[in-house]
């Protein structure tokens, strides 16, 4: 089988899990194989994964896996996959951290941050992100492979199958002690968000962010910012998107007062639809925007909030 790790948060399958299963299904179809998903402490029904192509769900219920530790996660999965040819994960913070350990444990190759379904599965030929998103590298990997999928790059594809679940146990031990997880967390997880409202130095001061948060609220979006804003302390570092910050691919990315330097684009360029609001008609970001509004953010954003509220009837 093609194995896939389905990541959970508080028992619920993350969007990352659904994307990984969708990807595994595409690989399995190409290989004439089926998908077996592995889930730790999931409370969601396995139907969630059958819907995207997993014919088997291996459930591990173990409190020692409730908090992420890379060595324990890698060991647990290594025990379950045996000598499988392919193990697929999403390159989340957790997935990206323990996938290389898993590859070492399995004596497999690791191909991280793949961005598309493979061109062939044996050998595995696939595109992956490189040069901070400024290049696409095509690699060929022979033998066993651990594959991590760049979040948001493949998407979720429904492909319902009838599946079954099995509860299994593993030996778990970690050399790490983790504590105080998610000491600060945003209302909506930026990486998983389908819509993101982001703002830059064009906002002039941190106290002007109220309208950005309100726009995000009416859209059900997460908030983000450009690097300069987190560098000077206007916004928390966890909101920084770009080459050296978080890379995101939401369905809708609204950039307010961000000029669109190449380093910023490297982190958001794979968003499905980009809207740019900027008073400078020459801002480079307009060249990458699906829709651009040339105008003062302090007028455009409140007007946009009103119109969306009117449309939604709130």
């Amino acid at each position: 089988a093609i194995f896939v790790f389905a990541e959970t948060a508080e028992g619920k399958y993350k969007k990352a899990a659904i994307e990984a299963v969708s990807y595994a299904k595409a690989v399995a179809d190409k290989a004439g194989d089926s998908v077996t998903a592995i889930a730790f402490n999931a409370t969601d029904p396995s139907d969630v994964l059958y819907k995207y192509g997993a014919t088997k769900v291996l459930k591990v219920n173990n409190p020692a896996l409730a908090i992420f530790t890379p060595d324990a996660y890698a060991k647990a999965i290594a025990q379950l996959v045996g000598d499988a040819s392919t193990v697929i994960l999403t390159h989340t913070n957790d997935g990206g951290t323990f996938a290389p350990l898993l590859a070492v444990a399995l004596d497999a190759n690791i191909v991280s941050n793949v961005t598309a379904a493979p061109e062939s599965v044996s050998p595995f030929v696939v595109e992956r992100k490189s040069y901070s998103g400024k290049g696409i590298m095509v690699v060929q990997a022979e033998g066993k492979n651990v594959i991590t999928v760049l979040q948001g790059s493949f998407g979720v594809i429904e492909s319902a199958v009838s599946g079954s679940e099995e509860t299994v146990s593993v030996d778990v031990q970690s050399k790490l002690t983790a504590e105080n997880q998610a000491a600060q967390s945003a209302k909506i997880n930026l990486i998983e968000a389908e819509r993101v409202v982001s703002a830059g130095r064009g906002m002039k001061a941190p106290e002007n962010w109220g309208m950005i948060e309100e726009l995000a609220d009416v859209l059900g979006a997460a908030t983000a910012c450009s690097k300069p804003c987190s560098d000077i302390g206007w916004r928390p570092h966890s909101e920084h998107v770009g080459q050296t910050g978080k890379a995101i691919s939401p369905d809708l990315y609204i950039a307010v007062g961000i000029s669109g330097a190449i380093q910023h684009l490297a982190g958001v360029g794979t968003s499905r639809v980009i809207v740019v609001i900027n008073s400078d008609p020459e801002a480079p970001f307009f060249k990458a925007a699906d829709y651009g509004v040339v105008g003062d953010a302090f007028q455009v954003v409140p007007a946009l909030i009103q119109k969306i509220k009117a449309f939604k009837g709130v």
Binding site: D94, I110, R128, K175, A178, A183, N189, E192, D290, F311
Partner: protein, 254 residues
């Protein structure tokens, strides 16, 4: 006990350079292109040097695996304050099959040879975006690890590390020996001053080959080609907020 710290520093195309794919797609244009130390590795070097300044570390060794020019990257680390360098030379011809697992094997071998207590490397290199070396090094040595570190403090015999995770921050305790990967917020690297650049020229740099360390760099992975990412086409400028809202409705985004 003061720690012996090993830091990885990779030579990459400078982060500010607009990367260009070669016409034959065998890679990217590197001739005449400015190279510098991977920015995340600079942060690793800075952290190790600060540890030495605080007497938490006793010696800081900078290692780089790559072609002859990687020596320049090691000199930068030495100018920032590392004590000595190790250059593991990889011929240019082998670079398309040279993978993070090889670097991890080299780091693990050097760690044993040099009796290293702590390895710090950048969370990823900005050329291959792999995000693998730290983790695989830890796996090979069977050492604990902490990736995406934004704060490292001594806590008794252990290290208290704050990690950047998708939902915020996480605090972990790691026992030494350990491997840590540096994230952007860990520190702001210093610029090397001219006197320190001069001093760095006199610091020792040992040259080794993977073979000297018993590392086989044959690979089951190879890079077939590098292509430009799909470019976004400039869309349309809408006249006002009404037209923008209409477009977003059309695309079912609101």
């Amino acid at each position: 006990m003061a720690l012996r710290v090993l830091i990885g520093c990779k030579r990459v195309i400078d982060y500010a350079v607009r990367v260009r794919v070669k016409p034959d797609k065998t890679g990217v244009v590197t001739d005449g292109v400015k190279h510098s130390m991977n920015p995340f590795d600079e942060i690793a070097v800075e952290e190790a040097v600060r540890m030495r300044e605080k007497k938490i570390a006793s010696e800081v060794i900078a290692i780089s695996c790559g072609p002859a020019q990687s020596q320049e990257t090691i000199r930068t680390a030495l100018a920032m304050g590392a004590d000595k360098g190790i250059h593991v030379e990889i011929p240019n011809a082998d670079m398309s099959v040279f993978q993070p697992i090889h670097v991890a094997k080299i780091l693990a071998a050097v760690a044993k040879k040099e009796k290293i207590d702590l390895i710090i490397v950048g969370k990823q290199a900005i050329d291959d975006d792999a995000n693998q070396t730290a983790q695989m090094t830890a796996a090979l040595l069977d050492w604990p690890q902490a990736t995406f570190a934004s704060k490292i403090e001594k806590a008794g015999d252990d290290l208290a590390v704050t990690r950047e995770i998708d939902g915020g921050l996480e605090d972990v305790k790691v026992k030494i020996p350990a491997v840590i990967s540096a994230d952007l917020r860990l520190n702001e690297p210093r610029y090397a001053t001219l006197p320190n650049i001069m001093k760095a020229k006199k610091k020792p740099v040992q040259k080794l080959s993977p073979k000297d360390l018993g590392v086989d760099i044959s690979s089951r992975i190879k890079v077939i080609s590098v292509e430009d990412p799909p470019t976004r086409q400039a869309g349309i400028k809408v006249d006002d907020v009404d037209s923008l809202v209409a477009k977003l409705k059309e695309k079912a985004l609101i």
